[in-house]
Symmetry: C2
Subunit: 344 residues, 2 copies
Amino acid sequence: MDSGYVTLEQVAEHAGVSLATASRVINGSTRQVSQRLRDRVTASAQELGYLANASAQTLARNSSSLVGLLVHDIADPYFSSIAAGVTRCAEEQGLVLVLGSTGRSAQKEGRVLAALRSHRAKAVILVGSRSTDEESNARLAREIEAFRRQGGRVACVSQPGLPADTVSPDNASGAAALARHLMGLGHRRFAILAGPSDLRTARERLDGFHGALSAAGLELDHNNVMHGAFTRDGGYESTRRLMTLGTDATCMFAVNDVMATGAMAALRDLGMKVPEDLSVAGFDDIPTLRDLTPALTTVRLPLEEMGEQAAGLALDADHEGDFRVVTVPGEVVARESTAPPTVR
Amino acid sequence: MDSGYVTLEQVAEHAGVSLATASRVINGSTRQVSQRLRDRVTASAQELGYLANASAQTLARNSSSLVGLLVHDIADPYFSSIAAGVTRCAEEQGLVLVLGSTGRSAQKEGRVLAALRSHRAKAVILVGSRSTDEESNARLAREIEAFRRQGGRVACVSQPGLPADTVSPDNASGAAALARHLMGLGHRRFAILAGPSDLRTARERLDGFHGALSAAGLELDHNNVMHGAFTRDGGYESTRRLMTLGTDATCMFAVNDVMATGAMAALRDLGMKVPEDLSVAGFDDIPTLRDLTPALTTVRLPLEEMGEQAAGLALDADHEGDFRVVTVPGEVVARESTAPPTVR
DNA sequence: CACGTCCCGGAAAACTCTTTCCCAGAGTAG
DNA sequence: CTACTCTGGGAAAGAGTTTTCCGGGACGTG
């Protein structure tokens, strides 16, 4: 019961070959090794219970098997769904996933990125849109460049515009399609829970929705657009505020499902019925939230697949050219939370 | 604009000191370095943009700043909540979190554990109960031992009985308290969605609930205990099965919230009203599921805190004695999904 | 003033791999 | 039969840190 480590040198000695040969057998390099020695080495490794020292390998190869995943909040089902896709993909390739939860802090993000660089991570996947603040985006772009210069690959989800491969939902089109669907039900006056005004994803969904209304000749009353946090509680708060101020809307669009969840809770607390008193629609189609009642009309995004795709982009080593952008369409899913407006 | 790396040697040269001195300054070893040299080194490091090579450090120190977190499924809100707590704690200590999603496969679990060993991870946190299968538990125990022999620390959440520090919810007491609460409402005949029969957590909750019923002189009809998957769909399926077979229960206990969610969906699809036709209670109090209607009566567990506590146990370096067990009490939260039984 | 002690700087070994370079032997073409 | 090319094995040079060990100077004591 030795408590120490078995090194490759010990394996080599046990097998009666040189260190070089042992290394070539264990990691399957380009060089050939005769079947005889090959068997001897694998048998010895097996017998001694050899486990390679990952840091030594990383040091020697100057490249590790680590892959980074940066999300804002892993407890948010939006991110955890994407994370599940990334995990699956990383595991398939025998890579080790490093999870960073940044809480939307650019500083934390920088720290994690530096740690990944310091570990010579093979790739990093940045999930979730940053602010539209030019300066912090520029800093992020620089960090990405530094990462890439060191031989790492970078992919983003939901953050187009960065110097990296990107998987991005078509927020504008999805929101526009949703708007058209809702207009088709007969709605003419909308309220929007628009999330933070400087968040790219929120902004695109708002603009897409707004654009479709305009195209149909409808105005969007400024008083009906509420900005607030991109969370369940943000949706709750914004809705209460909206209702306190009063609104003539017959339908409310929350730019993501968790905000819509908060909205429905607020309406319930206010004694309003969805969809009878007000229709509510969201965006994302978070799996865990599909069991809400009334079931939420929303725009479905294949979150897990998006995670897988991003991982695929980041790990597809032999691509060198321009940055690829995969646009993921959203699909309107009509459920019970929306209905034709009640005639008053 | 060099595309390469800055090494400590370059920093040392730039500062006009030896490699040893530079190392002592940068990582703050036990040895003293004069203020003068200290300043010179930090200035040089700053100026050159030095970033330590983590694998070289790991190799030299034989210990890394990696911490592993093993969950069954990161998309499950139970695990992602706990993960959020662990992440926070790890980040505070400047550690890098490695996420492994095992999908309840002992084999995958073994692979991730080996990877962590190979990286000389400082600690690993195993979340979620394994099966009650003796053999796979023994194998896991051996892996844990191997990990610890290499100097790593181990903590578990919800998996007592392993040779490691443990944070464990008091499943039996929580379920018993819930049972008493439901009996207090007037229920006498219960149905139970019991999850997999070989899953420790599920079993404990079932036994705790059952025990409280027995203590009150109530029988639990075997036909009213449904085993099935520990998931939303498992809950859905089990409920449909139960209803097809027919039941005299007035109240249903699902051993976790996600199963309860599936149960409520199934009841809705069958045209039954909760709680009028049947009361439903769950366990865990998953934050994302708090907005279900009717709101779910459940047993609240402080999931994020549990994650933090586990991380705390695993990272509290100067504890050497026996395995510590932190038992986390659950608190019954009465909501709308349960009500006194309707007199028929 | 001689001697021991302390403090701090540097040289070099150690950590465990990968990979380059060299070499011996076998096979092949002329 | 010579000269050349392959093939596969081994020695050794890295990769970037940490840490041990050694030594020189300052300081205090007798």
